[in-house]
Symmetry: C2
Subunit: 353 residues, 2 copies
Amino acid sequence: MTTLPETSDERATALAALGRTRELLDPGLRDWVGRLPEPVARVASYHFGWTDSAGRPGAAPAGKALRPALVFGCAEAMGAPAAEALAPAVAVELVHNFSLLHDDILDGDTTRRHRATAWAVFGSSAALLAGDALLVQASRVLTEDPLGRARTVTGLRWLAEATTRLIEGEQADIGFEERAHVSLAECLAMTERKTAALLACACALGALWGGGPPERIEALRRFGTHLGMAFQLVDDLLGIWGDPKVTGKPAGADLASRKKSLPVVAALDSGTPAGRRLAERYGASRGRSAEAEPAEIAALAELVSEAGGRAWAEEAAEREFTRAMESLRAAEPAEPAAAGLAALARLACRRDH
Amino acid sequence: MTTLPETSDERATALAALGRTRELLDPGLRDWVGRLPEPVARVASYHFGWTDSAGRPGAAPAGKALRPALVFGCAEAMGAPAAEALAPAVAVELVHNFSLLHDDILDGDTTRRHRATAWAVFGSSAALLAGDALLVQASRVLTEDPLGRARTVTGLRWLAEATTRLIEGEQADIGFEERAHVSLAECLAMTERKTAALLACACALGALWGGGPPERIEALRRFGTHLGMAFQLVDDLLGIWGDPKVTGKPAGADLASRKKSLPVVAALDSGTPAGRRLAERYGASRGRSAEAEPAEIAALAELVSEAGGRAWAEEAAEREFTRAMESLRAAEPAEPAAAGLAALARLACRRDH
């Protein structure tokens, strides 16, 4: 991927922000997960990578904690210490992981971050209930934040609204797999719900806890929305053309599962001859012999490119990224938080190294 | 069942309270469900009995709405108009139905209130997401209650705590089915979580919204806890000895599924010869021929009685009911709400007509 160049300084800045996020976040996150009833906490601890399937302490690679990093960065951008936004940072991470636990059940995915998914280890009942419990715990974190009082109700409303959009997006995504035709507009609307809504909420909650005025909060919310769209577009590009050594998924993973990702839908919806040929083969060639499949995936990827799906997604990612940066500037963020948020955004949208 | 006699006046009072509850509740409940994204709302509307599986308006029998009736009654008992407690009444009913949607998936139950369950009609993915959405919507109802402001954060915290207990209870209940031995203490603790916690929360929220002082709120919370325990004990008795024409379930339904309900666990845990014979046969005789099964169920029911499980459950139900009434009096409830709550409690604990 050659889009969205980043300097080595910027990369160092982003990695520092993510490292500091884990330091600030983890004690609070572990505390709140630890307050759950024991059988539920066991499943959740495994899911977060803190324990192995037998409950022994382990150190599986943690997620990037991008959403909490945005909460902290946006609070600082409004002039508050990051630590004051711990409650919303924990809450958005809990909601994100509620959605991962349920999505893995719904999608039947058996691995995540190179480990067996929670439902694959503990069964779908235990994973479903653990997801429910994390969702409830996200509310509790906000209701019990001593620093929150005046903004708690607003924060809870925003978080609930974003979660409803996330659920709506997941529902739409599942529906797409069963439908012959999905328009690009529908796929973009699904992405806004499934991915961008919670990133936007993370930014807005950080700015709210940071004491920002409404118009600056809304600018940071737009930053999160555009960043979320760019992030998903890049993720979808990597799902087809990403390096397996970097992504941790097999080459062309999204094509292997015949997923209706954004570049694919753009190609299918392009009205080009290549798009029509792709439509005839996508799905129909699924279930071929394992030997024939790598060649078929390469052919499908070539058709997505030829129909303009790749170029469209790269341009759309750059456009969304540019808008995210414009929204960030409009929020008049304080330094050095502003540079940190810009670096985080670029890292999130350039995951090829 | 001869326990917990009720007068015809009391019965009329209880039915009037439930009827009025539906009138007060339904517009708000339908409004909040209607605000959900369309595919989720369709599943929820079917689940609530408002539409059939094709989305056409229908009039399937609604649930009793016992929890909202307790919210309204407890608000009135503290001297406030019932209508002022609409938000918590809608919220507890949403949480209750979130748990029904997920429980039906987890338990594999294909019918509820004489209709196919939501997952059986729409698939488990759609039902799971609809449950998630109802849970989130319960928070939204409270955050947007214009009458709530000062008590919203407390109410949200109580509702989240009760929901966590409910999830813990469901998790324990599932675990019981896989275990050879469950103690009566464990089974009672599970019941307190799975059934009593949300009924207690309904009472406490009604009292809070009704403006009651802490000690009267806590007395009504205890009323709900004891009522919940009595309710579940009676439900478990009906699951073995209930009249199929009244319960809507086949005779001995809980024995047919070899459920570890309270009378069964009391019998298994009794240390009596009949209890030991029951332990040998329970589970082991599952999966016999369909012809042999009715005789086996009758034999199992007889062993539960002989081991004292039935008498224990009847006495425990009466004891919990008595404690519920004592707690109700301790709350110094205003009339006529007090009489309404007592009548509701008796109806909930005597479902044999």
